[in-house]
């Protein structure tokens, strides 16, 4: 399947999204303002911007982790504002992969348990689940680390566990918030390769928020976010 064919379907779309937070003074802080965004299926999209530009908030809203103050988001044909919390949870569990800025591993859970957590309520029996968990951890070079707690792993290994967790449910969309922001250059390179490999092999859609650590050359499209607004479309292949 060619790239142009794959771009035919918009997998994620935001329309007029606004997100505010209450400020201590009683007013409001505008994190996102009138964001319109379309993410085509199978492409890698980069959202770049400085720290505080609203990238993490945008990804949280797009993933249904937070509710927009106004506007609408559609993911894989589902209007998120019409879904209740359990439907949103199922959508995330079945179709979405999240890469967090600081890995966000559960510190008291082992590497295998962190990855298994995604599948725990998916109806897959434990034996099959563990087989999948062990396979993906092995693919990411963590064969001997199943029973290690995150604190017992190096930063690079932690990031790979986080990636294993993202990929284990075979998501159709990966939202990655600064996936290379907290790791050394070598680990960053490994992470990028792993993500891009998944995009190439399975046609997974990838949306990356970055302040410059992710290579722009790998992206099919690139938006710039400034002060909560989509400032410009910098690149479209």
């Amino acid at each position: 399947m060619g790239k142009n064919e794959r771009t035919a379907r918009v997998i994620l779309e935001a329309r007029g999204v606004r997100k505010t937070f209450p400020s201590r003074s009683g007013g409001e802080i505008v994190a996102l303002e009138n964001v319109d965004l379309s993410i085509p299926e199978g492409l890698t999209t980069l959202i770049s911007g400085r720290s505080g530009a609203g990238k993490s908030t945008l990804l949280a809203v797009l993933a249904g982790l937070d509710h927009p103050t106004s506007g609408s988001i559609t993911f894989d044909g589902n209007a998120l504002e019409k879904l209740d919390n359990s439907e949103l949870a199922r959508l995330r569990r079945e179709k979405l992969g999240l890469v967090f800025q600081n890995f966000q591993l559960l510190p008291s859970w082992t590497a295998a348990e962190n990855v298994e957590a995604v599948l725990m309520h998916s109806g897959i029996d434990r034996q099959a689940r563990m087989a999948r968990v062990e396979k993906i951890l092995a693919e990411l070079g963590l064969s001997g680390r199943f029973d290690n707690l995150p604190g017992e792993l190096s930063v690079g290994q932690q990031q790979r566990v986080a990636l294993a967790r993202t990929l284990v449910n075979d998501p159709i969309l990966i939202l990655a918030d600064e996936p290379t922001g907290s790791v050394d250059p070598q680990t960053a390179q490994e992470v990028i390769e792993l993500l891009m490999e998944r995009v190439r092999e399975r046609g997974t859609t990838l949306l990356v928020a970055t302040h410059g650590t992710f290579p722009e050359t790998l992206a099919d499209r690139q938006f710039k976010l400034a002060e909560g607004k989509i400032d410009s479309l910098c690149k479209e292949s």
């Binding site: 949280a60 993933a63 982790l65 937070d66 509710h67 919390n85 359990s86 949870a89 199922r90 995330r92 569990r93 079945e94 979405l96 999240l98 967090f100 966000q104 591993l105 559960l106 510190p107 008291s108 348990e113 957590a117 995604v118 725990m120 309520h121 998916s122 434990r126 967790r165 449910n169």
Partner: protein
């Protein structure tokens, strides 16, 4: 569910200190609950003993007025009305009432049983002394026991059994004053009744010197009356269902026989109130302990959830639903409460077996395994309930937050 239980168990294992502290709180509460529960059961057992001995026995009669006795020249009144009389208390002369009233009284809601009783004061025709006879139906054991006399009062010989006729039982006092013993006879209205037993009845509402079957009593009393009494008696023995229902029973009896005289041991009323107050104080103490433990467990669970707020946010971000999070957190609390409840009640059993304090305090206490088992189960169930309450509130609070809020909070 199995996955959630496994997960909850694992989480508790990884927070050993907090889990142990919370479980110990539940264990302490269950131990207190078990101890207080057994104390209450002991208290109730003791109270029942007291009430059984003083608080459930009644004798009912209707006093006769002077005009009735003098004007009813042809009625069923004693020929020797100066010496002889139907009585309930030594100085209270009574009217006659239909025997059938006994079954009506027995049917009252607060009444356990009722039986007709004949009490008649007689003048001995040979020696001229006065004594009293009681005619009763030996088969009505419920109303007789502790109300008039029973087999347990026998100190010599045997007691009158249902179906016995023509025999008598006398009190020890009557036996001493008259010299009548087991094997000799007592003669009333020319009929001799062999004495088959001597009793020491203690303090009962119904009092007499000689005890006969009701029909025998009627047959010896009728010749002493101006007219036969027919199918009537002068009093009824009533057994109330429970000491607490004494006043209710008296009220119901008075509703059926408006002018009646009800004699009982009314000191039981104040005894019941005092015992009730003690029991009330124990219940209040118990409620305070349970509320305290629930708040303690809730606080502990709350702290645990605050510590794990980010973890909960992550779980929700990767696809756990609110209900799965609530179940997970709730199960942790339930496991701790079940474990704590079992340990506490187990310790209670252990201590009670080694230090049977109630048995030291009262000879009447008897170990009731079934009752202790019920208290054990109640202890665990109450502990579980507290655990559910303590776990549910923080869990629902946690579930209300969006994953982003929870993750941001760290």
């Amino acid at each position: 569910m199995r996955e959630l239980i496994r997960c909850a168990w694992r989480e508790l294992g990884r927070r050993k200190r907090r889990a142990a502290a919370t479980t110990a709180g539940f264990a302490l509460a269950a131990l207190i609950l078990f101890s207080v529960g057994n104390l209450l059961c002991f208290s109730r057992q003791t109270m029942s003993d007291i009430l059984y001995n003083v608080g459930t026995h009644i004798i009912v009669s209707v006093p006769a007025t002077g005009s009735e006795m003098t004007s009813a020249a042809s009625g069923p009144w004693p020929i020797d009305s100066l010496n002889e009389a139907f009585y309930s208390e030594p100085n209270v002369v009574t009217q006659l009432l239909p025997r059938a009233l006994a079954s009506e009284l027995a049917g009252l809601p607060a009444v356990l049983g009722a039986t007709p009783l004949m009490l008649y004061r007689v003048k001995d025709s040979e020696k001229g002394f006065l004594f009293s006879i009681a005619g009763f139906d030996p088969k009505d054991k419920i109303a007789l026991d502790n109300n008039l006399c029973s087999e347990k009062d026998i100190i010599a010989g045997t007691f009158i059994r249902s179906g016995d006729r023509g025999v008598a039982v006398v009190t020890d006092a009557f036996s001493i004053t008259t010299g009548i013993t087991v094997g000799s006879s007592v003669k009333i209205s020319g009929i001799s009744f062999p004495v088959i037993g001597i009793i020491k009845p203690g303090i009962n509402p119904g009092k007499a010197d000689v005890f006969l079957c009701l029909d025998d009593a009627v047959s010896v009393i009728n010749p002493r009356l101006r007219q036969p009494m027919g199918d009537r008696v002068n009093s009824f023995l009533v057994e109330v269902k429970h000491g607490r229902q004494m006043e209710e029973a008296v009220s119901q009896i008075r509703g059926r026989i408006p002018d009646c005289l009800v004699n009982t041991f009314f000191c039981s009323v104040s005894a019941i109130r005092v015992l009730g107050m003690n029991e009330g104080a124990v219940w209040i103490l118990l409620a305070i302990v349970l509320v305290g433990v629930t708040l303690y467990a809730m606080s502990s669970q709350w702290s645990s959830i605050v510590e794990r707020r980010r973890d909960i946010g992550i779980l929700k971000a990767i696809g756990w639903s609110d209900s799965e999070v609530v179940w997970q957190l709730g199960l942790e609390s339930v496991i701790q409460s079940l474990l704590g409840g079992s340990i506490g009640c187990g310790l209670g059993f252990f201590f009670l077996a080694i230090f049977p304090v109630p048995a030291w305090i009262s000879n009447s206490f008897s170990w009731n395994g079934e009752l202790a088992g019920i208290v054990f189960l109640v202890g665990i169930v109450v502990s579980l309930f507290c655990g559910v309450v303590a776990g549910a509130v923080p869990a629902f609070y946690s579930a209300r937050q969006t994953p982003a809020e929870s993750i941001r909070s760290n």
